[in-house]
């Protein structure tokens, strides 16, 4: 009873239909990925094991491979800085990575703020908080433009002065100080003010990766949408529920083709009848675009594509 009450309300149907583990498969993989991303950076300062140095803004993997945050690099250019070859290679590598695994896979699989906001959403459900100050989801795009414009105006990397994403990841790796208050503010925003307020409405980092996400390869697809019972579990678990409908209820592609998708797999976990699966952007080319119940080519892919992401 106590154990059951910890399960997110939106995953309850999935748990009943598929069991606790299968209804949390992608959730577990994501938490593992987020924890590893931080731990690999923290192993150096804590245990002296230097697999990677630096932090998410820029780092050096195995003493050679440069990795850089492309949105920070873009602001740096806007601020009038001529980027070094090293920074460009680092940022290019990261862009390429997310073009493959999904633009906002950064949000779902790496960013530590996601854990904070997921927790706020979980608590929101548990406490039955329905108060939801509606914000336009395009606000984040405006804030992204504001960050770039602010960088031009000030001649500095403007968003990094307040970016909660940087404050949290850098704080965990280098020391937090008063940064916890910024994290707390994001948590309280998501809990009391707007559902999924930070990640799905305000954060310009997510908006930036969303632009990459428009072209990215790995995608969630509503492959077996004919089985859908309209229970609504996927909509309740999804941080961007507006992007599901076209793939689930439309007559066109079954692929969730919005850049806003985090590839978090929440819908795959939560669906009691396994409508969704991790796939690629091209899967609609293989299965007929019309709404016909052809499941064979899609299920062929099923065995292959998830491995790409989890492996």
């Amino acid at each position: 009873m106590m154990k059951a009450s910890l399960i997110a309300n939106s995953r309850m149907q999935g748990v009943e239909a598929k069991g606790l583990l299968r209804a949390h498969k992608w959730w577990l993989l994501r938490r593992l990925s987020q924890a590893s991303a931080l731990l690999v950076f923290m192993l150096g300062p804590i245990a002296g094991i230097w697999i990677v140095r630096g932090n998410f803004a820029s780092s050096e993997l195995l003493g050679t491979i440069p990795l850089s945050d492309p949105f920070i690099a873009l602001q740096s250019i806007a601020a009038g800085n001529t980027p070094t070859a090293l920074a460009l290679i680092g940022a290019g590598t990261i862009v390429l990575l997310y073009v493959i695994v999904g633009g906002r896979a950064y949000c779902g699989w790496v960013c530590p703020v996601n854990v904070v906001t997921d927790t706020a959403d979980w608590l929101r459900e548990k406490l039955g908080i329905t108060r939801d100050r509606k914000l336009d989801r395009r606000t984040r795009v405006l804030i992204m433009l504001c960050a770039l414009l602010g960088s031009i105006f000030t001649g500095t990397i403007a968003w990094e002065m307040i970016n909660p994403v940087s404050i949290l990841q850098r704080g965990l790796i280098f020391g937090m100080g008063a940064g916890w208050f910024v994290v707390l503010a994001v948590f309280l925003l998501d809990l009391f003010v707007t559902r999924r307020g930070w990640c799905s409405h305000i954060c310009p980092v997510g908006a930036f990766y969303g632009v990459i996400g428009r072209a990215s390869v790995v995608r969630v697809a509503a492959t077996r949408r004919e089985s859908c019972t309209n229970c609504g579990a996927c909509f309740r678990v999804c941080p961007e529920p507006q992007i599901i409908s076209p793939a689930l209820h439309g007559s066109g592609t079954r692929v969730v083709d919005s850049g806003a998708c985090l590839n978090c797999g929440g819908c795959i976990d939560a669906c009691p009848v396994d409508v969704f699966e991790m796939s690629t952007r091209w899967s609609s080319h293989r299965s007929p675009a019309r709404d016909t119940p052809v499941a064979a080519p899609a299920s062929n892919k099923k065995s292959r594509d998830p491995v790409k992401l989890s492996g």
Partner: protein, 217 residues
């Protein structure tokens, strides 16, 4: 039909105008905040080879690779409580000064050029040591403390002891030479007083000028 089109065009324009307005307002607000938040306290010194002023803040991504490269734990990334803009690398000379490594590993580690990796440690400008408290400096009391001179890594060039006669007493006065001092802060660190009488300041705060333009006007 035509009417619908007009309305939608009008609302489209209004929407676009609203967005532009929001972006401009937000960008100005963010800029105003940045202008306040970017100022560092005088005692927060930048690593060797740092680009001047805003150029540094345009290039530094606050990754901390310089911090990791420093063998003496001199450098830190600022949190909100510290005296430098959040996330940027700095050091407080009185805590741990710069040890002026010949190979400048911190600057070499910088991926963005915020620290010039070709910097010559002897030519770098982290600040300028200034003997700020003549009242309490022991050498000014006629005691040959001279600790700042003794510990200076560029001894007899950056700091010399100049023989002066003050109130008919011979004194050895520590004198900083701005063309040699790199602002490493070793003198500040080792000053024997409770609060250092010699301190590293940003050069524009610590240095006068030989020009007499003010006196002329």
């Amino acid at each position: 039909m035509r009417r619908d089109k007009q309305i939608s065009r009008r609302s489209l324009l209004a929407g676009a105008g609203k967005s532009v307005g929001v972006v401009c307002l937000a960008a100005v607000s963010l800029s105003a905040f940045v202008e306040t938040a970017k100022k560092a306290q005088a005692n927060a010194l930048r690593p060797p080879g740092a680009l001047p002023g805003d150029d540094f803040l345009a290039a530094c991504v606050r990754c901390g690779l310089c911090v990791r490269a420093c063998p003496y734990d001199t450098l830190k990334l600022a949190t909100f409580a510290d005296d430098a803009p959040v996330g940027t690398p700095f050091f407080i000379a009185r805590d741990i000064p710069c040890f002026m490594c010949k190979d400048v590993p911190c600057a070499k580690a910088c991926p963005t050029g915020a620290l010039d990796r070709k910097t010559d440690i002897r030519q770098t400008d982290m600040g300028l040591a200034v003997l700020v408290d003549h009242e309490n400096c022991l050498n000014y009391k006629g005691i040959s403390c001279s600790e700042c001179h003794r510990v200076c890594p560029i001894r007899d060039e950056a700091i010399t002891l100049e023989l002066q006669v003050i109130d008919k007493r011979k004194m050895l006065i520590p004198t900083v030479h701005s063309d040699k001092c790199t602002g490493c802060g070793t003198c500040e660190k080792h000053c024997v007083l409770d609060h250092a009488a010699i301190r590293v300041l940003p050069r524009e705060l610590g240095q006068g000028s030989a020009e007499l333009s003010r006196a002329k006007s």
